[in-house]
């Protein structure tokens, strides 16, 4: 019998439900143990969690657009000219 079919382990369908709390370190200990046990045996779900973790940390893949230095000066000038209060 596939060990993943054992009642001790969560089925794959349950893994996404726990992943948010897993990343927030909010899973109860027993859930955490079963969750990690599943990941250690299921390559597909381990890959899913790896991608989910990356999706939750977009600094690692989104381009940070440098701001041209003169834009700040132009913004200050724009507000100075238009923002008399």
């Amino acid at each position: 019998m596939n060990r993943l079919m054992s009642p001790v382990f969560y089925p794959c369908a349950k893994i996404p439900d726990f992943t948010y709390d897993y990343l927030e370190n909010r899973l109860p200990v027993t859930t955490l143990v079963r969750f990690r046990a599943h990941l250690s045996l299921c390559k597909g779900c381990a890959e899913f969690v790896r991608l989910y973790r990356l999706a939750a940390d977009p600094v690692r893949f989104l381009e940070e657009t440098p701001v041209p230095p003169d834009l700040i000066e132009r913004t200050l000038e724009f507000v100075e000219n238009n923002g008399k209060r």
Binding site: C12, P16, C42, E47, P58, L71, F78, V79, R85
Partner: protein, 226 residues
């Protein structure tokens, strides 16, 4: 400097401009208020610009919106009660202005689509406006194959983020990209904390599903025991 270091420095600047004493200087106006405002612009311009640009894609539109946001902040400071963080209020203003621009674009697109049915062609300018975000990263220590795979995944992730639709896209951009707290995002978007959590999870799931589909992997929850 890595993107992470840069983000942490920016986050620190954001915390500084939220201090009550700083906000009081801004509200008081005068020469000291003007200097404080300049500090505010310098500390927040980059991050607000990135936020607006990620929504709009176009750098010129983004710069125009950011200027309007700072003007609105300057004019609105006397009435700012300090019930929320200064930066949360600024993001709210930026979010509203971004929505205005997107609504205007949607109206223009409707007009354009009417025109397209007559001519059957898409103008070059519009084709050029369809931008796919790129990925800039180097890792000389990793094997070439691993670097290639990682870049491909990161590139797909960036494209998936660009395809997110509201309300998940707003929550994701504010929470994960800009690093605002769940409470701040809930306040800005008028959502409950639970709704922010649900929308954020859905957005991340959409990103992962889109990337996995392009990598030829089965969706989550469809593995051995599904």
């Amino acid at each position: 400097m890595s993107a992470g270091d840069s983000s942490r420095e920016l986050a620190a600047s954001f915390e500084d401009v939220n201090a009550a004493a700083f906000v009081a200087r801004l509200r008081a106006g005068g020469e000291d208020g003007r200097r404080a405002f300049e500090t505010l612009v310098r500390a927040t311009h980059g991050r607000l610009s990135a936020f607006v640009r990620r929504h709009l894609g176009d750098a010129d539109d983004a710069q125009e919106v950011v200027q309007e946001v700072f003007l609105a902040v300057h004019k609105g400071l006397p009435g700012f009660q300090g019930n929320s963080k200064l930066t949360t209020w600024m993001y709210s203003l930026a979010h509203f202005k971004v929505c205005d621009v997107i609504a205007a674009r949607t109206r223009s697109r409707a007009v354009f689509q009417d025109a397209r049915t007559e001519t059957g062609e898409i103008p070059d300018a519009l084709q050029a406006a369809i931008v796919e975000p790129g990925v800039q990263s180097t890792d000389w220590d990793s094997p070439p194959d691993a670097v290639f795979v990682r870049r491909r995944v990161e590139g797909l992730m960036a494209r998936a983020v660009a395809l997110l639709k509201p309300p998940g896209c707003d929550v994701y951009r504010l929470r994960d990209v800009e690093g605002l707290s769940g409470e701040e995002v809930a306040e800005m978007l008028g959502l409950s904390h639970a709704a922010v959590r649900v929308q954020l999870h859905r957005a991340r799931m959409e990103i992962v599903a889109w990337v996995r589909a392009r990598l030829g992997e089965s969706p989550a929850g469809k593995g051995v025991t599904a």
